[in-house]
Amino acid sequence: MKIAVCVKNVPDATVHKKIDPQTKRLDRSGEGALNPTDLNAVEEAIRIREAQGGEVVLVSMGLPKAVDALRKALAMGADRAVLVSDEGAAGSDLVATSRVLAKALERETPDLVLFGQASSDGDGAVLWAAVADRLRRPVLSQVAELTIEGEAAKGKRQTEHGYDTISAPLPAIVAVSDAINEPRYPSLKGIMGAKSKPQETLSLTDLGLEGDAGEPGSRTTVLELGPPPSRGDSVKIEDDGSAAEKILAYVTERRLL
């Protein structure tokens, strides 16, 4: 079983995220980290390999420094990493990013492609369906329980109305929910070994996509940045026994009842 896991380097949670007013893109100059919910996808891939054998390949697109984030996933137990890094890919939107990832995945011909639930920087939670359409393979998303039975992937997921169980023949694209597992911490041995694992960096030219990513390959634009609508003043009070009365007075005054 060859499993590809699509992962992303995002600004570390401790970094104050900001948008560069010039490029109107996220400022990615600070400390990076592996996107938190991608850890669930990496964990799931390693578990499947541990049960069935095979290989776990990380596939990512980002700045050259994304190798640091990939190393964490390698330390967890992934076997090797492929990073598409090219200045011409900066500012790629969904159509452009999915085009690049699909091409990189085609080179690997995996049996299973895993995605995490959402990216913490762009709040994106849609990429897998675009990649699946380009690869012309079935997609299962928001999967909270995944079983690989022979030549099929079976996933259970929560929807607005309850639970659906969906089955699809391999190769398939599966986006897992962060409820699927508890990602392991890398062992010391894993951390030491990660540096010597194969890491390949590809350019857009290597993928035959020169000029097809970044702004020329994108179909969306960022026009303007502004402050969000203000909620107005807020009142905070310590309960001295009269809080219930105060709430009632507050909501009555605003005609909310």
Partner: protein
């Protein structure tokens, strides 16, 4: 601008999310709708009241299950046929995958998590909160068709009383689109008004201390004629049904009044309820993040405050 709005239906009813988007589209230009799956034609007729002049319906067997890929096929052919300049979706588990797959298929731009849309100088502009909603970004499209996924609960349906012409259409499906199959489905039911429809929501988090404490919230919600919602943490712990979960992996709600009880206000919950008209928070921890974005914050014990508030509301009659 000519809009095509993807309308989902469940148990014969069109979903509120899609209808909110439809009402907005009708206010910006010519709006048409599309309903896919069993019972589509019957449900489609009701979209006229929300501003659709015409609604396309396809009831092909391939669309029977709530799976995205056959819908991408159907929409791709419909967009080609109608020449829609913008295709809009209200966010849901299904719609997000349909929108993204359609973007790849049509090489079209998709902007997501929008809270509003407007037309400025003849161009469509989306309003998108970013970076944990600290920035509001105006986003656009460089080409047609423009695809947009609107945050659930962001736009309210507005009944205009019109009627729609329903046109059924045939779709052909790619071989790979029908490989995934639904093998099992279980429905979750919760009593009382649904959290999407309620004007008042009383929500509970880990600070309740136990699943039994939800009864305090149910009593308050009943007195206020509202619904009870829950955070991811307590749903995961099995205290309350998933159908009531508000937040990133649950529903986005925008009631007139949101009373958050024992909820810390983690970002994943915040994104699901910050569109509420007025937010009242009750929490023991004075440093809880919820106090940064509520309108009225009570630092206190919800086990004291909530029953007392219920009593006062009841006494008020």
């Amino acid at each position: 601008m000519r809009f095509l709005v993807f309308l989902e239906h469940h148990e014969g009813q069109l979903e509120k999310g899609g209808l909110g988007v439809l009402s907005k589209a009708a206010s910006l230009g010519d709006a048409e709708g599309v309903v896919l799956g069993a019972g589509a034609a019957e449900a489609a007729a009701r979209a006229g009241a929300f501003g659709a002049a015409k609604v396309y319906a396809c009831e092909d067997e391939a669309l029977a299950s709530p799976l995205p890929q056959p819908r991408i096929d159907a929409l791709a052919s419909l967009v080609e046929k109608t020449g829609a300049e913008a295709v809009l979706f209200g966010a849901s588990v299904l719609a997000a995958d349909v929108a993204a797959g359609l973007a790849a298929r049509l090489e079209a731009g998709l902007n997501w998590d929008l809270v509003d849309l407007e037309v400025a100088d003849g161009e469509l502009v989306g309003k998108r909160p970013a970076l944990s909603d600290t920035v509001l970004v105006d986003v656009g499209w460089s080409d047609s068709p423009r695809l947009a996924l609107v945050r659930s609960g962001a736009l309210d349906p507005a009944e205009s009383g019109g009627s729609a012409e329903v046109e059924t259409f045939e779709a052909t499906f790619s071989e790979f689109s029908t490989l995934a199959t639904l093998v099992d489905q279980t429905q979750e039911e919760s009593s009382g008004p649904s959290i999407e429809d309620a004007d008042v929501i009383v929500a509970g988090g880990r600070g309740l201390g136990s699943p039994e404490a939800f009864s305090l919230l149910e009593e308050l919600a009943a007195a206020l004629g509202g619904a009870v919602a829950a955070t991811r943490a307590v749903v995961d712990a099995g205290w309350y049904p998933y159908a009531t979960q508000v937040g990133q992996t649950g529903k986005t709600v925008a009631p007139k009044l949101y009373i958050a009880c024992g909820i810390s206000g983690a970002i994943q919950h915040k994104v699901g309820m910050q569109g509420s008209g007025t937010i009242v928070a009750i929490n023991k921890d004075a440093n809880a993040p919820i106090f940064d974005f509520c309108d009225l914050g009570i630092v206190g014990d919800l086990h004291q405050v909530v029953p007392k508030l219920t009593e006062l509301v009841r006494a008020r009659g």
